[in-house]
C-alpha cells in the first residue's frame, strides 16, 4: 500500500502535517482542560488510554493530511463541501449520510448477511469510540452530587441527574458492554462468513482480514470480563483483565489509522459522491454522444492525472481519452490498430493512430 | 500423453481446478456436433450443478468453449424445468402422477392403434440425444409400437449431406478426416457455413491452417465472421451453389488444375461432368450467382493449385430443394483435384446437432436400421430382426419423412410421441404445423422445458437434462465419445430411455426392452451395428475413456477405429471408385417475383441453439440476443426508407412477421437475413418454403421470396 503523500513537494506535506497536528493537539488540550474542569476531575485509571488516544489522534491527523493532499481526494472534498453550501446540496448530503452510514444501504445491496454483520460491528465500534473518547478525554464524567444521585457532566456543564440504581444509570454504566456484545456478534458473523465462504477475493487477503476481527473480539471480551469480574467475581483477576484490555485497546488505537479500520474516515467522503454525481451538468461522449459523466468530474480527473504526469491526451486536439465514454475508448484503440479513421461524431473531429499507439487528429480532420 | 490419434489436436497442458467440496464431471457440451469437452462442477453435498471448468486435456477443444458451452450447465438448475408429469385437463396442462400419465399414454396408444392400425401412432424424434436413446427410439418404434412412422429432426439438418455423401462416396461420415487434419490443408473452401458462429471451436483448426500459410475461400451470401477473414469471399446469391461449383470446376478443368491420375483410377463419371460444366463459364456463373467472375477464377485457381485442401459445407448448401446435388458437387471439387485420403485433404459437413452424426446412424430415421442399414434391404432386416429377437416380418418398412409426417398428422397419423425436438419452431410453415399438431387425437411430448411444441401436448413427461444421464455421442468427425452425468433426477423427472422402456413394458413388449443402464443399450447397439457401415462393434465405454473417443468404423475388439477414411483411396462402392456426378443448375424452388422481390435466407446466431428452447431460457445468452431481427443492406433499406432499429414487416406467400431492422453492409442488396431461433409470432419459419428436396426430403429453409414493408409504429415489447 502506498501511504506516502501524493504531492511531489514532500516538505509541503511535512509542513501541513505539522500544522494540522499542532491544531489538533491544541484543541485536544483545551477540550481536556475544560472537560476535566481545569484538571480537577481526572480519572488516573484511564491515564494510559489518554496517551494512546492522543497519539492515535496525531497519527490519524497525519494520515488524513496525507490522504487529502492527494489531488483526486482534495478535489472531491472541495467539490462536496462546495455543494453543501446550497440548501439542496446540504439536504442531499444529509440524506446520503443517513442511507450510507446510518442504514448502510449499499452493503445491504451487496448481501443481507454482510449488512447485518456490518451494522453490528460498525455501530458497536462507533459507540465504543464515542464512550471511550468521551471518558478518556474527560469530556464526560459523573459526579456524586447526592448520596444516591449522579450528575452527568459534559465539558464541565452538569447536564442531568439520575439515581445511582436507576435503569438509565445502569444502561449508561454498561454502555461499553452493550457495544462490546454487538461487536462480538458482528465479528462472529464475519468470521463465520470468512470460514465458510469459498469465494477467495484477492482484494481481501487473510492477514488483512482476520487480525482486525480478532483484535475487536479481544477488546470486547476483555472489556466485558471486567464487568463480569466486578459484578459476579468480587473483583477477581480485575487487575490482570484490566491490563489486558488496556493493551488491546492501545494496540487498536495505534493500529487504527493504518489498517482496515481506515475505511471509516473514507466513508465520510463517500457521502459526497451522490451529490457530486447528480448536481453537475452531464457530459456527452466526444465520439458517440452518450452522456456518461459530469463535466466537473471529467475535469477533476484530468487535473488529478495531470498532477501525476499521467495525462492521456489525444494529440493535436484539446481532448483527452476521458472525453470519450469507456466503450468508445476501447473501440478507438482497436480501430486505430486497424489503421482506420476514428470519427468523433460529437466533437466533429477525425482521428488517426499516431504510430506510437496513441491517437491524434487526422490531417484535415476538423469538420 | 494421450492416444496417437489425438496428436495434432488443440489440447493444452493444464489440469482443471477442483475446488473444495466439489467434484468434476468430465463430459461434453450438449450444443452442436463439435461435442467440446467440458467439466461440470457439482457440489458434493447436494449434487447441485454449480458451474463449468475447462477440460484442457480434451483434444477437440482443449478447454475452449463458445458462449453456449460456457452457459450450458445453467439449464440444470433452471427454475423453468418441468419437474412433474403434466396432463391436459379442461384445456390446461396440470400436474399429474407418473401412473396417471403412463396409464393414459398406454391406453391411448392401444386405442389409436386398435382403431386405425399400428402406423397411426408416430414418433418424431431428435438428434441431440445420445446414441443409446436414438437407437432405442428406432427399436421402440419398430418393435415396441410396431409403427413404420418414425423420423427425426435431423431430417431438417443432416439429410442432404447424408444423401450427397452416400451417392458420391458410398458412405456418410460427416468428416472423412479427423478435425486435426484441417490444420494441414493448403486451402480451405467453406461453403454455406458461418463456422465462426455455428461451430466456433473449428476456428482454431482453420487458424492453424492459416498460420501455416493456407488460403481460405468462403462461400456465403453474407460477410460473416468467417467470411471476414477469408482470402476470397464468394458472396453468392442464396441457392446458387450448384452453378458456382460448376463454374469453379469449369475453370479448373479449363486450366488443367485437376488430378487426372486420381480421376482415372479412383472415380467414374468425369467425362459427363466435363461436358456439363463446359457451358458454365465464369461470366455466365457470375450472372447466376451475382458474384464477380474474377473472384470465381481466383478461387478456382487457389483450390486447384493447392496440393492439400478441404471442401467443407453446412446447412447453407444443404437446406435447398437441390441440396443433395450441391453437396455432391462440392465433393466433386475434391474428387477432380484428388484431395482425398491424406492428412489435410478431404470433405466435411459441419454437423449442427449435438448428435447429428450418431443420430442418423442407428435407426431413428424412417428408412434406416442401426449401423446405417437400409430398412428395405432384406439382409439388413434379417440381421436386425435376429439381434432384436423378433421375426423379420414383424419389422415395418419405411414410413414418412419428418415434414411429411407432420403434414399427415390428424389424417394418417392420429397419435404422436415427440422426443427431443420442437418442430413448431423448426419446421417450415410453422403456422400450419401448429394446426397439424392440434388435429392429433393424442399427443405426448418428453422434454425438460415446456417448449412451444410441448405447450400443445396432451401429456408432457419431464425428462432430464444431458448432464443427468450417461451415454455416447458421435461428433462431427465420426468420433464416438462418452457423455457422463450427475446421478440425479430432479423432482419427478425421469431419464427418457427409462420412460421408453416403461411404456414398452406396459404395452406388453417389455421382453425386448430389458435395459438397466445406457451401457446395456450401447452393448446391444454394438451388436446391431456390427457389419454395418457405421460399425460400433469394437467400441466399448472403457475404450472411449481410454482413447478420448473412437472413430467408427471400429469392427473388432482389437480395432482402434479409423480416424481418416479412404486412405487407400477405395471408396465404398463395389468397384471402389467414387462417383463424380454432374448436375445442371436448377435454382431454388421459389423465385423472386414482382410481388415478392427479395430473397429471404435464415440462419443461426452464436448465442442460440436450434429452436432456442434451451438457450432462450439462459439469461446471459438471451440478453446477448433477445429477439430476432432482419438484416438489410443500406441500399435496399433506402428503397423502402427503413432506418436502423425500425420495425419492418417481412412477408412471404405463406406468412409474415414483424422484425426490427438491422441495417448492415455485410449482407447482399437483393436479400435479407433473419435468424430462426424463436417461436410463435417471432418465428421466421412462418415464411420459409416447405418444398422438399426429392432425395433427402429436407425443406428449403435457405431460400424463399419475400417482400418488405416498413411499419410506422414501433413494435413495442418483444421477448423471445
Amino acid at each position: 500500500m502506498n501511504f506516502y503523500p501524493y504531492e511531489e513537494d514532500s516538505l509541503l506535506f511535512s509542513k501541513i502535517s505539522a500544522r494540522n497536528v499542532f491544531i489538533v493537539l491544541v484543541i485536544l488540550f483545551f477540550s481536556v482542560y475544560i472537560g476535566s474542569e481545569q484538571f480537577g476531575y481526572f480519572d488516573m485509571a484511564l491515564y494510559g488510554y489518554l496517551w494512546a488516544t492522543i497519539l492515535c489522534f496525531v497519527l490519524l491527523t497525519i494520515r488524513i493530511t496525507s490522504w487529502t493532499l492527494r489531488p483526486p481526494t482534495r478535489r472531491l472534498w472541495k467539490q462536496g463541501i462546495k455543494m453543501m453550501f446550497s440548501a439542496k446540496g446540504l439536504a442531499f448530503v444529509l440524506k446520503t449520510l443517513y442511507t450510507n452510514i446510518g442504514e448502510q444501504k449499499f452493503i445491504r445491496k451487496r448481501s443481507m448477511y454482510r449488512w447485518a454483520q456490518h451494522m453490528f460491528i460498525s455501530w458497536g465500534v462507533l459507540f465504543s469510540f464515542a464512550i471511550t473518547f468521551a471518558l478518556v478525554l474527560n469530556w464526560l464524567h459523573f459526579e456524586l452530587v447526592e448520596p444516591k444521585t449522579y450528575a452527568a457532566v459534559v465539558f464541565g456543564i452538569p447536564l442531568f441527574r439520575m439515581g445511582v440504581d436507576s435503569p438509565l444509570a445502569i444502561a449508561i454504566y454498561h454502555g461499553l458492554n452493550w457495544t462490546g456484545i454487538a461487536t462480538i456478534i458482528g465479528c462472529g458473523m464475519a468470521l463465520y462468513r470468512r470460514v465458510t465462504d469459498e469465494k477467495k477475493l484477492v482484494e481481501q487477503s487473510k492477514e488483512y482480514d482476520f487480525f482486525p476481527l480478532f483484535l475487536l473480539i479481544a477488546i470486547s471480551i476483555t472489556g466485558s470480563l471486567l464487568t463480569v469480574s466486578a459484578l459476579w467475581m468480587e473483583g477477581a483477576f480485575y487487575l490482570g483483565i484490566g491490563l489486558a484490555h488496556q493493551v488491546t485497546v492501545i494496540i487498536f488505537l495505534l493500529y487504527f489509522p493504518f489498517s482496515k479500520f481506515w475505511h471509516l474516515p473514507l466513508r465520510f467522503l463517500a457521502v459526497m459522491v451522490p451529490v457530486y454525481h447528480s448536481m453537475a451538468e452531464q457530459k456527452p461522449c466526444a465520439r458517440c454522444g452518450r452522456e456518461y459523466a459530469t463535466v466537473t468530474q471529467i475535469k477533476d480527473v484530468q487535473l488529478a492525472l495531470e498532477k501525476r504526469h499521467l495525462s492521456v491526451p489525444i494529440e493535436h486536439t484539446n481532448l483527452h481519452f476521458s472525453d470519450m465514454c469507456a466503450e468508445c475508448r476501447r473501440v478507438s484503440h482497436r480501430l486505430g490498430g486497424y489503421g482506420a479513421k476514428i470519427e468523433l461524431g460529437q466533437a466533429h473531429l477525425i482521428l488517426e493512430p499516431t504510430g506510437r499507439n496513441g491517437l491524434q487528429l487526422k490531417k484535415g480532420g476538423k469538420q | 500423453m494421450g492416444h496417437a490419434q489425438n496428436k495434432d489436436y488443440s489440447q493444452r497442458d493444464y489440469d482443471a481446478i477442483l475446488r473444495d467440496g466439489e467434484e468434476l464431471i468430465s463430459t461434453h457440451c450438449c450444443f452442436c456436433g463439435m461435442q467440446c469437452g467440458m467439466n461440470i462442477r457439482v457440489r458434493k453435498e447436494d449434487q447441485s450443478v454449480v458451474g463449468v471448468e475447462p477440460r484442457y486435456d480434451f483434444p477437440m477443444n482443449g478447454g475452449r468453449l463458445c458462449p453456449k458451452g460456457v452457459a450450458a450447465y445453467r439449464q440444470a438448475e433452471h427454475q423453468e424445468r418441468i419437474l412433474h408429469p403434466l396432463i391436459r385437463k379442461n384445456g390446461k396442462l396440470e400436474q399429474a402422477t407418473w401412473d396417471e400419465a403412463m396409464d393414459l399414454i398406454v391406453s391411448k396408444i392401444q386405442e389409436i392403434q386398435g382403431k386405425y392400425g399400428k402406423d397411426a401412432f408416430g414418433i418424431y424424434s431428435g438428434s441431440s440425444m445420445t446414441n443409446e436413446k436414438c437407437y432405442l427410439m428406432g427399436k421402440f418404434a419398430r418393435i415396441g409400437l410396431g409403427t413404420k412412422n418414425i423420423d427425426y429432426n435431423g431430417r431438417y439438418c443432416m439429410s442432404s449431406a447424408s444423401v450427397g455423401f452416400n451417392q458420391s462416396l458410398g458412405l456418410d461420415r460427416g468428416g472423412t478426416n479427423p478435425w486435426s487434419d484441417i490444420k494441414f490443408a493448403d486451402v480451405l473452401l467453406i461453403a454455406g457455413s458461418n463456422t465462426a458462429e455455428c461451430h466456433p471451436l473449428s476456428m482454431p483448426y482453420i487458424w492453424g491452417a492459416r498460420d501455416r500459410g493456407a488460403k481460405l475461400i468462403v462461400v456465403d451470401p453474407r460477410q460473416t465472421k468467417t467470411a471476414l477473414v477469408a482470402d476470397v469471399h464468394l458472396n453468392i446469391r442464396p441457392g446458387t451453389d450448384v452453378a458456382l461449383v460448376n463454374g469453379l470446376l469449369h475453370v479448373m478443368i479449363k486450366e488443367d488444375l485437376i488430378d487426372k491420375d486420381f480421376i482415372t483410377n479412383h472415380t467414374t463419371g468425369f467425362e459427363e461432368l466435363k461436358e456439363l460444366v463446359h457451358s458454365y463459364n465464369p461470366a455466365y456463373v457470375s450472372e447466376i450467382t451475382g458474384t464477380a467472375a474474377d473472384k470465381i477464377i481466383t478461387a478456382a485457381r487457389i483450390f486447384g493449385q493447392a496440393k492439400n485442401g478441404f471442401a467443407m459445407f453446412a446447412r447453407g448448401v444443404e437446406q435447398h430443394a437441390t441440396g443433395t446435388d450441391a453437396v455432391s458437387n462440392y465433393v466433386n471439387l475434391c474428387l477432380v483435384t484428388g484431395k482425398f485420403g491424406r492428412k489435410g485433404s478431404g470433405v466435411a459437413t459441419f454437423t449442427g446437432q449435438g448428435n447429428g452424426q450418431g443420430g442418423r446412424e442407428h435407426g431413428q430415421k424412417t428408412d434406416q436400421l442401426p449401423g446405417f442399414r437400409k430398412i428395405t434391404d432384406p439382409k439388413a432386416r434379417e440381421y436386425i430382426a435376429g439381434v432384436w429377437g423378433v421375426d423379420e416380418s414383424e419389422l415395418p418398412g419405411p414410413g414418412l419423412s419428418a415434414f411429411e409426417m407432420l403434414q399427415s398428422l390428424g389424417k394418417e397419423i392420429k397419435g404422436l410421441l415427440l422426443v427431443c425436438s420442437n418442430p413448431i419452431v423448426s419446421s417450415p410453415t410453422v403456422g400450419d404445423v401448429g394446426e397439424y399438431l392440434k388435429s392429433l387425437d393424442f399427443f405426448v411430448c418428453m422434454d425438460f422445458f415446456l417448449s412451444e411444441s410441448a405447450e400443445l401436448a396432451d401429456v408432457v413427461l419431464p425428462s432430464t437434462v444431458w448432464i443427468e444421464d450417461n451415454g455416447t455421442m458421435t461428433n462431427v468427425e465420426g468420433r464416438v465419445l462418452r457423455v457422463k452425468g450427475v446421478d440425479r433426477t430432479p423432482g419427478e423427472s425421469k431419464r427418457d430411455w427409462k420412460v421408453i422402456c416403461d411404456i414398452a413394458e406396459r404395452l406388453g413388449r417389455g421382453q425386448y426392452f430389458q435395459f438397466n443402464s445406457p451401457e446395456d443399450i450401447f452393448n446391444e447397439l454394438r451388436v446391431a451395428s456390427k457389419g454395418g457401415i457405421a460399425d460400433y462393434y469394437g467400441i466399448t465405454y472403457e475404450k472411449l475413456d481410454k482413447m478420448q473417443g473412437v472413430f467408427w468404423p471400429c469392427p473388432t475388439e482389437e480395432s482402434e477405429g479409423m480416424p481418416r477414411l479412404f486412405e487407400d483411396l477405395t471408396f465404398n462402392f463395389p468397384d471402389g471408385k467414387a462417383r463424380i456426378l454432374a448436375f445442371e443448375y436448377k435454382g431454388p424452388n421459389e423465385r423472386t417475383s414482382k410481388e415478392y422481390p427479395i430473397i429471404l435466407t435464415t440462419g443461426r446466431v452464436v448465442y442460440h441453439y436450434l429452436s432456442g428452447n434451451q438457450t432462450r431460457r439462459i439469461d446471459t445468452l438471451r440478453n446477448f440476443c433477445p429477439d430476432p431481427y432482419v438484416e438489410i443492406h443500406p441500399k435496399l433499406a433506402e428503397q423502402y426508407n427503413i432506418s436502423n432499429g425500425e420495425t419492418v414487416k417481412v412477408s412471404s406467400p405463406r406468412g409474415s412477421i414483424e422484425l426490427v431492422a438491422k441495417i448492415t453492409k455485410i449482407t447482399r442488396e437483393d436479400m435479407v437475413f433473419v435468424p430462426y431461433h424463436w417461436g410463435k409470432s417471432l418465428a421466421i419459419n412462418h415464411l420459409t418454403n416447405p418444398a422438399l428436396e426429392p432425395k433427402s426430403k429436407i425443406p428449403e429453409f435457405k431460400v424463399c421470396a419475400v417482400k418488405l414493408e416498413k411499419i410506422a409504429s414501433s413494435a413495442g415489447e418483444m421477448h423471445g
Binding site: L76, V202, A270, G337, N357 | G69, V70
Partner: protein
C-alpha cells in the same frame, strides 16, 4: 513463468464466451469484467475483446480518492477494495482503456484481476481458457514482448505520457490487409 494476456483481435468472432466465462471465476461473484465491442456496426462484423491492460502505473489507482486500488506482487492491478471503494467512478474515467466498471447499486468497482484464483494456481484466466478462437491467449511475457509473432502494442505514448501495460495487443495485418475489417469496403460482389 510470468504470463500475461495476449489479445490477437483480428481472430475475434464476437461470441462473448470470454464475457460469460469471466463470470465463472470463483473470485468474480458472477460479475463479468470482460468486454467485447463491435468496432463499426453496420459496416462490419469485426469485434474485439478487451480485458484489463494491467498498466505498470495504473491511472485508475492514481485517480482513486481513497486509494482503494492496489497492485498484486505479480503486477496484477486489482479491483477496488470493497470497504474502501466509495463508488465515485474516477477510475472508470481515468482509465485510458475503458476498463473499470462500477456497480451503481452495490457501490463497488470491479475489474479484471486476471482470475487471481486461477493464475495463482498456474492456470490461465477464464477468458483465455474458453476463448474458442485463441483470440485471447495466456503467454510468457518476455517471449511475447521480446519476440512477438507480429506487431504488438504494450507501450503506449499518449502525447508524451508513456504507459506500459502487461497485457499485449496483437495488431491486425494491415500491410496485406488480409484479415479482418477493411475500412469502408462492405461486401463486394
Amino acid at each position: 513463468m510470468d504470463k500475461v494476456l495476449y489479445i490477437d483481435y483480428e481472430r475475434c468472432i464476437g461470441c462473448r464466451a470470454c464475457v460469460i466465462g469471466c463470470e465463472e471465476c470463483s473470485g468474480h461473484d458472477h460479475l463479468s469484467r470482460m468486454f467485447v465491442d463491435e468496432l463499426n456496426p453496420g459496416e462490419t462484423v469485426a469485434t474485439s475483446p478487451t480485458p484489463c491492460m494491467h498498466c505498470v502505473t495504473p491511472a485508475c489507482a492514481e485517480s482513486c480518492p481513497v486509494q482503494a486500488i492496489s497492485i498484486a506482487a505479480d503486477g496484477t492491478v486489482l479491483s477496488a477494495s470493497m470497504e474502501k471503494c466509495i463508488g465515485c467512478k474516477n477510475c472508470t474515467y481515468a482509465c485510458p482503456f475503458g476498463i473499470p466498471k462500477v456497480d451503481d447499486v452495490k457501490k463497488v468497482m470491479y475489474k479484471c484481476d486476471m482470475c487471481y484464483d486461477r493464475t495463482s494456481k498456474g492456470r490461465p484466466p477464464m477468458c483465455a481458457s474458453v476463448c474458442p478462437t485463441d483470440t485471447i491467449r495466456f503467454v510468457d511475457q518476455s517471449d511475447l514482448k521480446n519476440d512477438p509473432p507480429k506487431p504488438v502494442q504494450f507501450k503506449w505514448d499518449f502525447g508524451g505520457t508513456i504507459i506500459e501495460t502487461r497485457t499485449v495487443i496483437g495488431l491486425p495485418d494491415t500491410e496485406e490487409n488480409r484479415f479482418g475489417y477493411r475500412e469502408g469496403d462492405g461486401v463486394q460482389s
